[in-house]
């Protein structure tokens, strides 16, 4: 109950901020932070709970973005429909990736997901309808009332997606699904022998994680008024989506949220003040530092400070 009150409060605050007279740039930056929050939370469902490292976040994200563009160009569909369709497309891709887990684990699975990024990117580069390698310019539709600008509206939409993603991740974590996934992470053979439906659970985790990543990608073309393969399928999305839960902590749904808030804000500040190359360096260095010195992330560190609170 406490959680739902908190979630509702977050949404109301996001909505009111969007109506306030705050500087436009804030929404521009906050949108990206929220977007990474969805990606990190989605990554954690498979990577954190089940222990399958997915390097392919960029593929799911970009397929979501492209699905939204196709629907927009073809039917002029509204944003909500675009997001739903993007989640469907990336969810299907996730299901396909889930089938790979039948045979592949650990690094083999991780490398296979990298392969998916590049294969999908090549397909989009060769698909004229969505602009091929040069990309596609998009005309934003009129903004809906009561928002004063499109970026503000996208900010609220993304906040809603964060609440949805976190609620799903939280449900997975506290229900029997989460217990099953953790059993898979600890020992897949033992889990299978004890009657955990490992394949079903893995397929579920892959599909849900993929669908959420796709949903996060859907508003991106509208945000930029542009889509292009090289930046959409950028491996930087993958490393961020992996680093944020690792830094925040992978065992609890709070971990990715904390990680994304921390790292996403640092990234935005660094991009503005120094350069966008440095922000990838920051992710890399923090990721390595955390996996080496604080394997349980920020949550683990907090637990060490206050051992009594669990």
């Amino acid at each position: 109950m406490k959680y739902w009150i908190g979630a509702a409060a977050v949404l109301v605050i996001a909505f009111l901020t969007a109506l306030s007279g705050l500087n436009e740039y804030f929404f521009y930056a906050a949108f990206i932070v929220l977007q990474f929050m969805v990606l990190a939370t989605a990554w954690n469902i498979l990577g954190g709970y089940a222990g399958y490292v997915n390097f392919g976040t960029a593929a799911f994200f970009a397929i979501g973005a492209y699905a939204a563009v196709v629907l927009f160009k073809w039917l002029g569909a509204p944003l909500a429909v675009q997001i739903a369709f993007a989640a469907l497309a990336s969810g299907l891709l996730g299901f396909g990736v889930g089938l790979l887990t039948l045979r592949l684990r650990g690094i083999f699975f991780a490398i296979a997901t990298v392969a998916i990024i590049f294969i999908m990117e090549t397909m989009m580069v060769n698909w004229r309808y969505v602009g091929g390698a040069t990309g596609l310019q998009l005309l934003r539709p009129d903004v809906m009332q009561p928002f004063t600008s499109y970026t503000r509206m996208l900010f609220v939409v993304m906040a809603l997606l964060v609440v949805i993603a976190v609620s799903v991740a939280r449900y997975v974590q506290i229900s029997w699904i989460g217990r099953g996934l953790r059993a898979i992470r600890d020992s897949e053979e033992a889990a299978e022998c004890s009657g955990v439906p490992t394949l079903k659970l893995k397929l579920f985790a892959c599909t849900v994680s993929g669908a959420l990543m796709g949903a996060a990608g859907a508003p991106m073309p509208m945000y930029l008024s542009f889509i292009e393969p090289a930046s959409s399928f950028n491996l930087n999305y993958s490393v961020s989506a992996l680093a944020m839960p690792m830094i925040g902590g992978t065992v609890h749904w709070m971990g990715p949220v904390i990680g994304a808030l921390l790292l996403g804000s640092i990234q935005q500040i660094v991009t503005v003040t120094i350069s966008s190359e440095i922000n990838v360096l920051v992710i890399g260095v923090l990721l390595v530092l955390f996996v080496v010195f604080a394997p349980d992330g920020v949550l683990g560190l907090l637990k060490k400070l206050w051992p009594r609170r669990s």
């Binding site: 490292v53 690094i107 296979a112 090549t122 060769n126």
Partner: protein
């Protein structure tokens, strides 16, 4: 689209040269990942690092191949350091740390890449030598000398490494560690020292492979992303840890890529390695010559 055996022959010829080159850039990974089971996703990044060091040395007038050979001992030490660190932090702790070990190498690759961008910028870099830019004419076919150089070095590298692994004492110990580590431990050998040595060799070889890379074509920092596909494709296709298999798998990839390049143009070529990798992983993860 037209088809002719002449063109096909040319594509296969070029594919063979390209394939040997791919084998050379993958052979280090074949040792570190294939034999030692280290999830070395940063292998292509380390190789690009070698390319840039070659570039720096070549700017002083050194021949790129000589530069590559000179860099080998330095990279050998670097490899020992990386493995030592990886072992102490992750491998020692068993499967629990496996996910973090993978994340560690992924992060390392990005650090190297951004480090190179900060040091050299995002522009492409090339080296100069007598054999770069000219080509050998064989009747109506033209073979660039730089490909022949890469071809020769690749063959030397592959055969000397497979000889080393099968004929010398340490080489056999490396193979033994890959086969049965506990048995080696029971016989009184220290598997960690052998693995550290092997990882050093793998990294040293990557320096020379990096020199080949910048001889064959211009190099940019973000190139490691593409080579994750090529190197892992070759190593997995070869069957983990087989040296002659690596050469064969390199040839398969090289010829496949060259034929696709001829038939459809450059835009589909990057997907060949990744597509092949995915097919192998899906159908036969133990590779063609698997142990």
């Amino acid at each position: 689209m037209f088809f002719s055996f002449d063109l096909l022959f040319e594509a296969v010829l070029f594919g063979v040269l390209l394939g040997c080159f791919y084998a050379a850039v993958s052979i280090g990974l074949s040792v570190s990942f294939g034999l030692l089971d280290v999830p070395h996703v940063a292998h292509p990044a380390v190789m690009i690092l070698g390319s840039y060091f070659t570039y720096v040395l070549a700017a002083y007038g050194l021949d790129p191949i000589v530069a590559g050979v000179l860099l080998m001992p330095v990279f050998f030490l670097l490899g020992i350091l990386i493995y030592r660190f990886y072992y102490e932090t992750f491998e020692k702790r068993g499967t629990e740390a496996a996910v973090r070990g993978l994340a560690f190498f992924f992060g390392l690759a990005f650090i190297i890449e951004v480090g190179l961008i900060l040091g050299f910028g995002v522009d492409q870099r090339t080296v100069h030598a007598a054999y770069i830019g000219s080509s050998l004419s064989l009747g109506e076919y033209r073979i660039p000398y730089r490909m022949l150089v890469a071809f020769g070095v690749a063959l030397v590298l592959t055969f000397s490494l497979s000889l080393y692994l099968s004929k010398t004492f340490t080489g056999r110990a490396i193979k033994a560690v890959a086969q049965d580590e506990p048995a080696l431990r029971l016989m009184g050998a220290n598997p960690v020292r052998i693995k550290q040595w092997a990882f050093g060799i793998a990294t040293g070889v990557s320096a020379l492979a990096g020199a080949m890379l910048i001889i064959v074509g211009p190099v940019e920092p973000a190139m490691d992303r593409l080579y994750i596909g090529r190197t892992f494709c070759v190593v997995v296709l070869a069957g983990l840890g087989s040296m002659t298999g690596t050469l064969a798998a390199g040839l398969i990839l090289g010829i496949a890529e060259s034929i696709v390049l001829m038939m459809t143009g450059a835009s589909w070529a990057p997907a060949v390695a990744f597509g092949l990798l995915l097919v192998v992983l899906g159908i036969r993860p133990q590779g063609l010559f698997g142990r």
